[in-house]
Symmetry: D3
């Protein structure tokens, strides 16, 4: 008797009922305005994770000791943002209702909106920690409001002022920067300078944590649709993830914008895998 | 005094009023279900055309003798098919109303729908000659009806039975093949065998001619989203284009599905450029 | 309750007991002498198969109607050929003993030896149909006898004269060609000319069918370790597969030597997927 | 009535008479000794600039507020350095005579010589600020004096001692370093350490500013013919450009040595676009 | 005592005095007007030849039985065509004077001019057999007469009418085709149709044989600067080489225009290696 | 009379008897568990070294002043680790016995074992300085003990405790880290912090120095089989090499794990060339 072929991120092979974290992929990139292909991100992360060790010398923790379930990729409706966002919201809601933490792998950044809708329903006092190179605060982009370039603005539509904290931002229109500084979001340009203070201040609040991997410098993360030089270093990001996870009440999170087609060397995918491993280890309560 | 930087396909630099053919690009690929990137197709064709001669030894004709205007690429709303199709329809309608032949460069195949809508309005008796590897006859795909996988079905919604003639088809669901053979479209599987008869039979009818370049064998045209082995040869395609253009009343046409990201050697783009050159020379009444 | 992430080739999701065909991957390439990387072949075929339709217009059959189980990739000992071959032999033997047909996806061609060992044990009168660009008949290569360049010679060690029928061969040392023509194997150079006669002649014999995809011309299959110009066409190969499957008693088979790292456009992987689909449809007794 | 297809770097669409800065491309690489392809640099920068925002959060300035004209690429005589340099000199001279600042996009570094010839004619007291990984000070290279490896030496032939200030240099022959330190040029090895002092000291002098992008570390700028590890960081370069532009009387400048063929991820082109944007914003007197 | 590292094409390791054929590389591409990089062609052919067998099943001959010397690549002056051509002429002249046949590996096609100059000096009655996709008959290109696009025109300057026989030509300006058909060269468009008759007719004449590999269809030879669809097949080329070599008095030859940078899969280099192997075996008088 | 084609790293063309350093390549990667291809590393380093200057501005020394012999690549038995290691050991032993320093270019890291066996025989008190991202201390990997993942453990089998000093390690299983910290090796995680003290402490001991290039951050060195973000910088590595070479009695060394297939831009190979140049200049006693 042979077994069926179950594929998971690294050793995330807990059964669903006992899992405290639940991974899933959201392979969607229909609104990408520049170079598409992030739809292959989650699949690449899962597939290449076998080149990674489950043990982290940074945290001295091992994924083999954690209880994580990987429920695979959603089958999303390319060409219909509304439908795709519903499918994401539904999956996220199930996981939240079962008292687990959803960890979504994008896909383009718009997918965050589906997860935030579900999280905001469960946690009306939801706050967002947002790592990104781009502000993503446009009201619309080329006539479209459900666009990756507008995703945090759409989250603001739900949550309102003083709920969104942005870090590492180094690209956007003048209007986006002005709109943010008018008090709608809290933005730390270029780096993580005010992160510790922010986390201290948000003590106890339910946090959705969204990581657009292009917050990293493209020297270490070239494989993304819109690379922006001048980003943060890999160890800076690990440290920032630690700061967020150690001090916050994370209720959901995502890692997005890996575009394997622009990752000729495979380093970007390897980086994404390691970021996911470190994030999962930080979120896991077991050791 | 220096001149602005006007870029055109090869030497398609006639002024608009005197042009008989009008090129434009439709850089859209939001519904692509597999590998996106055809949005860069029209730009690549224009940009790489300077590596091509304007003279064709096949036809002994030269683009320099033709009157063709290149109006550049539309700026389409990635993420909203409805909006993008309207923009394409509008551009096509202007060209048709000015008594010229639109030659659209895709983009994914869905863009054809925008042009066909405009052409069917101008020519209610419109027929379609369709070269493709894929049937594109699904009623819906992943819940979406405006999808590249459904584009000829959407054209059928407008035109009805006995208006669509398909050639080279070698991929689809069983349902698509059955639906076609139930009398809705005329399909020549695998090659161009019945093309001459078809053209003779359609004598005098207004024809929209849509070429999905993946009708070519991927050995010569690898740079496309969904390559299907077993396709037609390059010289077969040139011959078939000649058959169509010499014997029909073409009112509009398009060439689509070049995806430069999967064209590492640049051959696919060079092939697309040559197909466009030969098509333009066939359509031009000047010599 | 969410489901675990089961990945299979296309819709090969039968349960094991009811399956008549069983797929598995043998990701091994330790002896590759030129350009390694076929270890990623089976994974790429499985992963990219979702870009393919389950229906074949060539055979008018659909994989959805077949009973095929995909048991995933073996975890082989890179660096130890002896161990890896044992693991392959063991998996093949289980499938054969359960009365099913093993369909192995390589990996380099050496993996065939493991499967042939198991098949020869079950079927002492085993014959081999071998499609390849290379003779693979060396006694040893750089001092090593368990090498991809020696695999058919090692099969001959087991089976002896008049059991191995080779087609499409167009590369080898002078010694290999001389050794074959001394009566040890039956070799059709360059193409499939004598295939029909051979199949007729082998009527009723148990056949192991091994397809090295580099038998194809590299224009349509560039993604392999040692590409050899002058190969057969894709439709020739489909026809030859049909000839073999329709007329023989196939007891096991494999498809190998896809090397995704040399497949920049993805066409080679798409070709491999289609070859596997057509092979499975030919082998399936259901319609 | 449709418009012709005008392509410019970002929004550099001022009309020529009102422009204060004039961009043009010099697509030439005939003397490249190692890996050619910079001829495609200017075209790639223009073409990919649409992925960039016109607003800079570093300077809080927007290109939309500037008056810049993009006159496109020169059509240079590949295979004849003398002719190509004349064509560059001529274009530069026109722009200088019209009281505007030429901003040339290479091409290999030899193109600088054409522009410097024109600038030195207009401004006999011309000084050069040179950012580069390579000294470019050879008397000849493989018997050729008009070579990219000799370009600053050829500039020295025109300007003489104490006119050329080099920064970031980390590669060259022993002879080049000795010749420089004999007093012919002022060279800051490896970084920008003495830049501020230099700029202060050159107060009021007419400056030609030439940026070989390979001064950047290849981690962030791999897409160049001769990458040299150990370079400066992206933010270091932005700061250095600010230092030069804020404190000098720039009369002409260029950015060169982007080689898109070695830029698989597109990051190098994105970096070049951003460097050009920041440079233009620094040079523009409008805000 | 260890040996120095001698690298040759396959087993072309005869000593110079006893060799009948002498290989050398001409790594030059300064005049390439479109995509440069053929300078790496000869090096790639030599380096990748170790993936090829020395035995040819097409000719049943083995390179190990031949006497061929590989004298490596010339060090040419990139940026100076005149100098480079002199260096090529000089090397060719030495080989000719020593009674051997030079086999030059390009580089761009202009290198042929250097070799033809030497051959025409030795053999005033020299004729040229030319396989190519491009006519290469321009009087000048962008103001330059020593250009790859003019190389056969420059050879005509030396040899005059009725000395140059072109095959496979499928690209050029109208002027080139007209100039040829005015009686200056004998041109067979598209294929090798008249090759046998030509060879019969040239019986006994000294022949220089120049093969631009882009005569091949880009499906099998994508790795070249200016790929032109509609070319000849690999086996057609082998047959044509056989026709030329078996029936002519070849005094020199070359194989050029491989551009490895556009050969992602390595197939083009493998094809070039095999063409060179077959050519050498055809030319060798030993068996 | 023409010369044979001798290829060496840069200008390492001393004759063997007078050489103090001897380069050779070990193109082996049969045990690579993730992405193979380092077998092409030594060849790429030699071949691309011609793009590098022989003069180092870091050390103000020139390779032209050194006495270094390049004996080329070994021809190793792919598929048999035991045989390959013997061949490496034999070559290393000859060089050591002739009183010269072997400098081996990998290949995967397992090749170090062959060289260490020879060195330990000559110098029973041998110590190892090991730069790497990976601990390489497994007892076995997938049932195989001669694996790249076990290479330092195999060296420990020969040398025992307190002989191996590891730097930069940032990946491994929990068991490897525990085994090391149990006193078997001295490990500096992540960086070179304790390097100076270590070197001082090893004063006078015979040192084998092995550099796995993946100790570098993948931003500057992406072209390797298992890239690990968070590595050391290029200048850090140069400084560390200086620290080791200036203060130790080096008896042998190697540089390994360049995998050119994952080096699309060529930067990794250029980095490897520069590391080798700097290492050779440090080791050379001449100036």
């Amino acid at each position: 008797m042979l077994n069926p072929n179950i594929e998971t991120f690294l050793c995330c092979d807990a059964d669903y009922p006992s899992a405290e974290l639940v991974l899933f992929g959201a392979p969607f990139d229909s609104t990408t305005s520049y170079r598409p292909g992030t739809r292959f991100g989650s699949r690449a992360i899962r597939s290449e994770s076998f080149g990674l060790e489950s043990y982290s010398p940074y945290q001295d923790k091992d994924l083999e000791d954690c209880s994580i379930f990987d429920s695979g990729d959603l089958e999303l409706s390319m060409g219909s943002c509304a439908l795709a966002l519903e499918q994401i919201q539904e999956r996220t809601a199930i996981i939240l209702q079962d008292g687990k933490i959803p960890v979504m792998l994008g896909g383009e950044h718009l997918v965050t909106l589906g997860a935030v809708r579900a999280a905001a329903q469960q946690y009306p006092d939801l706050h967002i920690i947002h790592f990104d190179a781009h502000a993503d605060l446009r009201q619309e982009y080329l006539g479209v409001e459900l666009s990756h370039a507008c995703v945090l603005r759409r989250c603001w539509d739900i949550l309102g002022d003083n709920r969104i904290y942005q870090f590492g931002i180094r690209s956007g229109t003048r209007e986006e920067f002005l709109w943010s500084s008018a008090g709608h979001t809290n933005m730390q340009k270029f780096n993580f300078a005010q992160l510790k203070q922010t986390i201290a201040q948000l003590q106890g609040k339910p946090i959705y944590f969204t990581i657009d991997l292009d917050v990293l410098d493209p020297s270490i993360f070239p494989g993304t649709g819109t690379p922006e030089a001048g980003g943060v270093g890999f160890l800076d990001l690990l440290q920032a993830i630690h700061t967020v996870c150690a001090g916050s009440h994370i209720v959901g999170c995502d890692v997005n914008e890996l575009c394997p087609a622009y990752d000729a060397s495979g380093v970007s995918t390897a980086v994404a895998c390691k970021v996911v491993r470190e994030l999962l280890l930080e979120l896991s309560t077991k050791k």
